[in-house]
């Protein structure tokens, strides 16, 4: 059943495969974010209550959703590394962690910038904001553990355990606005049923969101490839690659 997946556990195969993906995702990122952000920031009608300050939605919501999705991706990589001891899974978790941390930070910073004009405060210790801040600390812990050990297998194991334990925070973030009274409003788009925004506002969001997904995939592919090279620096195929580059 999983046979088709087996070749990709080989670093060389994965390295070349992600190399083929990169130009596609970079082109998609530029096209979608160019169209989506111009559409969202210049042409979408202003909100009836918040006016133009609601436009930060198009940055804040994709960043927040992706900060959680990347974490889940990292946790799945950590699980497969711990159980099946696939070395590449560690490399991919190490590649994802900083990207996720940056997106968490973007979500927190854009949220603060949005909160000041609408709520009247930069920060409040409500369940949604606090749990998202904990997510940032989890990411920082995972990054620190990946770099704390000389031995990459040991580092991957330690960081993987933290990543897996931290996964309980994801449903807490997602459902915090439903379980408790919070200042943060409920979900507009990431829920079952129709989105709570008019379609003239929703479609630019879809374009921006897919654009950000492509951006994240693109960046993670680049980081993943450099992780593979760093971890296999002594292998003959990497040396061949370097020699080829030099003769060019």
């Amino acid at each position: 059943m999983w046979k088709w997946l087996h070749p990709y556990a080989n670093p060389e195969v994965s390295y070349h495969f992600t190399g083929k993906l990169i130009p596609w995702f970079s082109k998609l990122t530029f096209t979608l974010l160019f169209i989506g952000l111009i559409w969202a920031l210049l042409f979408v009608p202003a909100d009836y209550q918040q006016g133009n300050s609601f436009r930060i939605f198009y940055l804040h919501v994709p960043a927040a959703i992706l900060s959680m999705s990347i974490y889940v991706g990292m946790a799945i990589a950590a699980l497969s590394s711990l159980v099946w001891q696939i070395k590449l899974a560690d490399a991919s978790a190490a590649a994802m962690a900083p990207v996720g941390a940056i997106f968490t930070a973007i979500a927190l910073i854009t949220g603060a910038a949005w909160g000041k004009p609408t709520w009247g405060t930069w920060w409040i210790w409500d369940a949604r904001l606090t749990s998202e801040l904990i997510l940032l600390f989890l990411y920082l812990g995972v990054i620190a553990l990946h770099n704390a050990f000389e031995d990459k297998t040991l580092a991957g194991k330690a960081a993987g355990i933290l990543a897996l334990v931290g996964v309980v925070n994801i449903p807490i973030i997602k459902y915090s606005v439903e379980w408790w009274n919070t200042l943060h409003q409920g979900s507009t788009v990431s829920k079952l049923g129709a989105p709570s925004m008019s379609s003239s506002m929703y479609w630019p969001f879809v374009v921006c969101f897919i654009g950000f997904i492509c951006f994240v995939t693109w960046v993670i592919c680049i980081r993943f490839r450099s992780e593979i090279l760093a971890r296999n620096a002594m292998r003959p195929w990497v040396r061949d690659l370097v020699n080829q580059q030099e003769t060019k």
Partner: protein, 160 residues
């Protein structure tokens, strides 16, 4: 799956399930304290499941809808008084400061301050809560929703 992998998978999953259970129970035990605010109904009748009520003089947050027609603003300064409601109970809020742009009658807001009388909160901070619905002005008008940010004269602002 070979037995060693199976064993590792069982260990990892059972540790995760254990941690999930512990955190779930902790959150359940703390659930009343994680709530950011009391609603007017909870101040009068206590929290739904624990019956905890805030005492007089306690510093709390109250969240509810601003009662239409209840906002009384002082023409001279920034003092303002209004009622907050939910589920039929009403709490009066007194506040001295600039209200957030989203403040209006019928809007959900959160006031942070001292409960000086059973039904009176002297707020030091008023935050506007907004919902997850976004729409252009034209659609909002056709639905009968209208919004005007609170306006201040220069004299009012200078006095603060």
């Amino acid at each position: 799956m070979n037995p060693r992998r199976k064993k590792r998978l069982t260990i990892v999953l059972s540790v995760l399930a254990g941690i999930g259970l512990i955190i779930g129970l902790v959150l359940y035990a703390l659930s009343q304290n994680i709530d950011l605010f009391y609603t007017p109904h909870e101040i009068v009748h206590g929290k739904d499941d624990t019956g905890i009520k805030p005492s007089i003089g306690q510093r709390i947050r109250v969240g509810g809808l601003v009662v239409v027609g209840s906002v009384k603003r002082d023409a001279e300064n920034l003092k303002v008084q209004f009622d907050l409601t939910n589920k039929g109970e009403v709490i009066t809020i007194k506040y001295d400061g600039i209200l957030p742009d989203l403040f209006r009658e019928g809007q959900g807001i959160i006031a942070n301050g001292n409960l000086t009388q059973p039904l009176l909160l002297e707020a030091s901070e008023v935050l506007a809560k907004h919902d997850e619905n976004y729409m252009p002005k034209e659609i909002a008008e056709s639905l009968g929703e209208n919004h005007q940010a609170p306006k201040y004269t220069k004299e009012q602002l200078d006095k603060n």
